[in-house]
Symmetry: C2
Amino acid sequence: MRAVIIAVGDELITGATLDTNSAELASHLTALGIAVTRHLTVGDDAEPIADAIGAAAAEADLVLVTGGLGPTLDDLSRQGLAQAMGVELVEDPRQIARIAAFFTALGREMKPSNRTQALIPAGADAIDNDWGTAPGIAARIGAARIFVLPGPPQEMRAVFGERVEPLLVTDGAIVRRLLQTYGAGESDVGERIADLMDRRANPTVGTTVREGVITVRITARDPDPDAARRAADRTAREVRRRLGEMVFGEDDQTLPGVIGDALRGAGATVAVAESCTGGLVGKLLTDPPGASQWFVGGTVAYSNEVKTDHLGVPAEALATGGAVSEPVARALAEGARQRFGADWGIGVTGIAGPTGGTADKPVGLVYIAIASNQGADVRRHTFIGPRDRIRSRASMTALNLLRLALRAAGKTTAGRHQA
Amino acid sequence: MRAVIIAVGDELITGATLDTNSAELASHLTALGIAVTRHLTVGDDAEPIADAIGAAAAEADLVLVTGGLGPTLDDLSRQGLAQAMGVELVEDPRQIARIAAFFTALGREMKPSNRTQALIPAGADAIDNDWGTAPGIAARIGAARIFVLPGPPQEMRAVFGERVEPLLVTDGAIVRRLLQTYGAGESDVGERIADLMDRRANPTVGTTVREGVITVRITARDPDPDAARRAADRTAREVRRRLGEMVFGEDDQTLPGVIGDALRGAGATVAVAESCTGGLVGKLLTDPPGASQWFVGGTVAYSNEVKTDHLGVPAEALATGGAVSEPVARALAEGARQRFGADWGIGVTGIAGPTGGTADKPVGLVYIAIASNQGADVRRHTFIGPRDRIRSRASMTALNLLRLALRAAGKTTAGRHQA
């Protein structure tokens, strides 16, 4: 099965907006074993839209179009599709009612222009959109199936995932598992699971990376939904076995979210003392809603005076080993824990660059300490890249070390309970 | 003049990597007054690359291709172009020497596979690449000019900006000015300069938005470089006049960078006490290198106890008006200033959501205070959107308020000096 993806919009063609829909759809189709042969972006004119859809339908089995379904005069994907099909647009009364209901639910007035969103090419079907006003469209040209989806990424994602993707697996079910990992490079992860990553395999296994988090994506297809689920789970278990404690979560879990859940589950709290990361560790720890249940507070200790006055770092440690050193990281973590009255303390000190490095202490050197009532554990890391990457990786690594410490502490506790 | 942009790569076609090159090139071409009619993405196969280049050359005056110039077997843009031109590939001895020199400069061994990067279609010209091993290629098919650029975004950007863009302005020079603004929506900015934003005008004026920062992009073309510069400066002055103090910088200046420069220039320092933003204000203030010259430190005061114990917020203020209130924001800013011994203090307290809002104090309500030796000024803002957007906008707005306060203080000082 071959697919072409078309994105519509003047804001895309002029580069004012970055098209993320096409890549997102491509990765879903690839996971389903559908070969994407081309992506195409065209502007808001009916003629090029019709040409693009017509040409794509002639060469592919599946054509996905995003965008151009808004209520304004320059939203012309409906017209383009009708033209490619050689039919007229007709108003779908059911969609008029849905759009009206959508506005009522928002407590807003439906504008006359929104009526145009209920226009569907004759012979095509509207696809219900519960997440916005624009219905999608399902059509056929010759043997090719065409789906037109709304352009806003959240709506596109929801309509595709809920309404279109299930139709693409004619012979059964798709089951997807995501495993979230931290602590290795993408090529390291790739090497450990290389034999599982054959594109023609079922389940398919792929990786993507963002801010150091590597997501392993497992997609199983099978006529029998239960068999698909079992195959996905089996592969997920195998990937977990190979990647070990690198795996921190599943599906849309995040590192801050997993830490928040672990702290809340243990009834524990954390505080932070950070230097080179400038507040980013605190920011990440408070990303999840409800963070006040586990996050007490933090100190951004940029100057040496703040380190001694606010956190009790011994002036001697600063004088002897310098601010970027193992004892200072330890004192920061312990200071944060004590001064904020938290169960756990994080201390981070390093050289984010681009200047300030020496042969002994290069740019990218960061000491990260995790303190608990069992003492403090300090790790030395050297991150590479520009300043913002060093700060981001240092912060995420601090969170990951806290995660591993919480995990180890949980095991000890569990062990004690068993004993 | 009409252009087609082609991106090459299996990693793009499968959605594993997001293509940012096409949008970046499109925005440059649009600014030059060149109409981009299509973007196209194809995989790493010579046939579709040749077909795409051939079709694009038949319909456009200019074809830009990115990617597929690496040293491995699946880098086939050279072959695809040669096929579209109906010629053979020939080795360019000058490029062999350049590639060898590039490896020598890095202190690394040149691999035999890198020799393939010096293959250029007969009749085409290599484009020197000082930023990587892959030369670009300039060619013609009929009346169309074809440029093939390396795929890594930094290399693509450098080769395009230094070697290709100058060739596209056959009748003179291009001068670009960027104005960075904060404090209004994109549509507000657009309304104030709507008459300048005609796509066919010279200079062209466009806007892009990222994290609340609206960038106004001015591009002037003129046979005479001085005349282009004068036209760009004239339009930049007019945009500045209309947008007033919203404009915080030019070209690649950032809000944290401008604040850092202003503080360093005044020999002043800043400290921060933040609640709902969790450390993000501190993180932003320490984004620029050398931040230790103006940033002393910060407290992330998530719990009420931290607000009173670490920053001296009166327990009475917390009890009477609640943690999210004008007096608490003021006390946070003053507490930060005093406890860290800084000239300026920032205080932020608000409700980032998604829960915790009331009719009186909805999700998104944030009080931001700026304290100096002249007292503290508190603003009430209501931001909309999800939790991360509210935290990001609150933090950037805090920086912007500090910028405006520094500006006003600078004017007062300047006034005094004059008196």
